[in-house]
Subunit: 152 residues, 2 copies
């Protein structure tokens, strides 16, 4: 069964499902406030993509396209995707959901930068991501990993 | 007994002690490589500050002064401190080590920004830190908290 990656809509159902994920934070709270205050409409597009198992959201990630003029990771500077909050619910891990999400991100044909959680390095290596050279002024508390498509 | 915060030196002993902390990552690996390659000297200054219990490093944080021209958090833009990797070893938690480190950071008289680990919000609230308004383009996967000294 191929895994279908869906762009997630901002609505109360999605935001309720987000609470199951460990990395629930300021971003989600801000989406909820904006929805409640009618600053964004129900079912607006979100930066999140996810995979459902039946009706249940079991994996998700956030993607944002950073413009070349802000690029401090690739040479020459270029548009790239920042990927964050990649997470698969515990009961659904080891079934390829994480890989399916990363493959989806790669399908845009842009280089990708992520700042993964500590101890997920093995997963990212398998996906072809490599460490940048640490630069304190740029990276501070981050451990940036990058991926560049072979074609470029 | 007052807790003494020390600026940590980059040497093999410090780097070995860092391995006990959960948030060991690219920054520490890069310091080790630079030391091994003689790019930095033994006992160079590091951005880390720590507290020892006897001879054992039991708490640490990293601090870096960001220049006003790069400030995207405070108004008007000003020099501020980025604080990261604040961590107290499990057996030493609840004894004021974390607070002592944050107080030390505050003593520089600059505003502070940090991107804390999920679920440490209660600690940071007690230290007087508040959430910024989430801005996806700036914050991406971060949950930034800031502190501004009352005097300013």
């Amino acid at each position: 069964m191929p895994l279908e990656v869906k762009k997630l809509k901002v609505n109360y159902k999605t935001l309720e499902e987000f609470k199951r994920f460990k990395e629930y934070g300021l971003q989600e709270l801000s989406m909820l406030e904006d929805l409640e205050a009618n600053i964004i409409e129900n079912d607006s597009d979100s930066p999140f993509y996810g995979i459902y198992f039946g009706n249940k959201l079991v994996a998700r990630m956030s993607l944002y396209q950073v413009e070349a003029r802000f690029d401090r990771y690739f040479s020459p500077p270029q548009d790239y995707l920042e990927l964050w909050k990649l997470e698969v619910l515990p009961d659904y891990q080891g079934r390829g959901y994480g890989t399916a999400l990363v493959d989806f991100a790669k399908s845009f044909g842009l280089p990708i930068k992520t700042n993964p959680r500590v101890k997920s390095n093995e997963f990212w290596e398998k996906q072809g991501f490599t460490s940048v050279h640490y630069d304190m002024q740029r990276d501070l508390g981050e451990n940036p990993l990058v991926w560049e498509s072979k074609q470029s």
